[in-house]
């Protein structure tokens, strides 16, 4: 009798028992292993959510002197949800989406103002952005926890697989949101602010006028061309309403070229802070502003050029890195080259700096 003897009943059992266990309990074992990893991340998400909420409340209490305790009202705002319009509507969903999102923004703004007897616009936008972060973290926690608990309740391994696949991306975003809180509290520029930073410098020394809500425009000259410049009104934590502002300026001045400068999410393998040029409306968000810009550009047959500065999610919403800040001058040079290459003397160009203008004036 030796180890190679497959007639040995003991050895035969050693082989067959694990096979039987894995056939009947394999999924449960996998679920057990996967779920412990997911549980760790859920606890981390819960911690992010609670810490950011605590930081928001402490920031308000310590810096903004509210007349009464803002905690119950803030907890209600954090739980707010948005029901998006029905998307099978052939008549056009964009105005409805815009209406719902604007209603939410207007309401949140009014509710924040109601917490204080007096609050500056800078502080109000900072609180509103911090509130958005806490709400996003709360939503991420709730969704991940729901999927995990459903799989656990149903004892269903395949149900946990999509969550396991998506979790690294969710955690990357959650980490970025969590780390963005200190920069926002101190009013520091974030990576997404590179567009407003580039255009803000071009606006220095010009007369700034209101183009739309929290958005400013100004006029300048460059080598015989008339330049219209648009950006969100800094140094508040706002992206403004670039769609409306472009609509107004284009209707009044009919520019020959539109150039949009924005931060863009980099692909894996791409260098951070690298600059790329392209075509089309460079603007993120829910899509309503992009739609508006595309429509007006098409109606007036104006080419739209884009310059983007690549960065990760974390860089986009955290304190601007040196590499990104150092690119501002290069981007400005590229804008002027683009103007020289695509227009001639007497033409009008609209340059738009897209992004959150926190900590970036004009």
């Amino acid at each position: 009798m030796g180890f190679g003897d497959d007639t040995n009943p003991v050895l035969w059992l050693i082989w067959i028992i694990p096979i039987i266990i894995f056939v009947f309990y394999g999924q449960r074992i996998q679920l057990q292993i996967t779920s412990s990893e997911i549980k760790k991340n859920i606890t981390k998400l819960q911690q992010f959510k609670e810490n950011s909420r605590k930081e928001l409340i402490n920031y308000i209490k310590n810096n903004l002197n509210p007349p009464k305790d803002p905690t119950p009202k803030l907890d209600r705002f954090i739980d707010y949800f948005t029901i998006m319009p029905v998307d099978m509507d052939p008549g056009g969903i964009i105005p409805k989406v815009r209406h719902v999102v604007r209603s939410r923004e207007d309401n949140t703004r009014a509710q924040i103002k109601s917490l204080f007897s007096e609050i500056s616009e800078l502080e109000r936008t900072k609180v509103q952005t911090l509130l958005e972060i806490v709400t996003s973290l709360q939503l991420l926690y709730k969704i991940v926890n729901h999927l995990y608990l459903t799989a656990k309740k149903q004892n269903n391994y395949p149900l946990i697989l999509p969550l396991q696949m998506m979790l690294p991306f969710i955690m990357e975003e959650a980490n970025a949101l969590n780390e963005a809180v200190p920069a926002l509290k101190q009013g520091q520029p974030i990576g997404d602010g590179i567009g407003p930073m580039v255009v803000g410098k071009m606006m220095l020394g010009t007369k700034k006028q209101k183009a739309s809500f929290e958005t400013v425009w100004s006029e300048t000259k460059y080598e015989g061309r008339k330049l219209f410049l648009i950006k969100a009104e800094g140094p508040s934590a706002t992206i403004g309403r670039p769609g409306e502002a472009i609509d107004t300026i284009v209707s009044q001045n009919k520019p020959d070229l539109i150039i949009m400068v924005d931060a863009s999410l980099k692909l894996e393998g791409e260098d951070s802070a690298s600059v790329s040029q392209g075509f089309g409306a460079a603007i993120g968000g829910i899509g309503t502003d992009r739609f508006q810009i595309e429509e007006i550009a098409t109606r007036h047959n104006i080419p739209v050029f884009a310059i983007v500065i690549k960065q990760s999610v974390k860089e986009a919403i955290n304190l601007m890195t040196k590499e990104i800040a150092d690119r501002a001058e290069e981007v400005r040079t590229q804008i002027y080259e683009m103007i020289n290459d695509n227009t001639s003397t007497g033409h009008t160009v609209l340059v738009v700096g897209v992004g959150n203008t926190l900590g970036v004036s004009q």
């Binding site: 779920s35 606890t43 911690q47 920069a183 410098k201 955290n318 890195t321 040196k322 900590g359």
Partner: protein, 76 residues
């Protein structure tokens, strides 16, 4: 299937690796004189923002303006 032990586990604490502990993020600003274009770098102070006019230039008494605010990882 989900053990009671797992459910009762102590709250998660953020883990830091050895290298992370040794890295700190410092916030700096760069000011440039509008006349002599001389650049100076200093630590960020709350209330600073890009394109804010700060103090007069020590070299030519021109106006200093913040041109950059950024974070740098300092390895200690």
């Amino acid at each position: 299937m989900f053990s009671k032990k797992e459910e009762k586990r102590a709250p998660y604490t953020v883990e830091q690796c050895e290298s992370c502990k040794k890295e700190t993020k410092r916030k700096f600003i760069v000011e440039q004189c509008e006349s002599c274009k001389k650049e100076t770098k200093r630590k960020f102070i709350e209330g600073d923002y890009i394109f804010k006019e700060t103090s007069p230039c020590v070299s030519c008494k021109g106006q200093l303006r913040i041109t950059k605010i950024f974070g740098e990882i300092i390895k200690t």
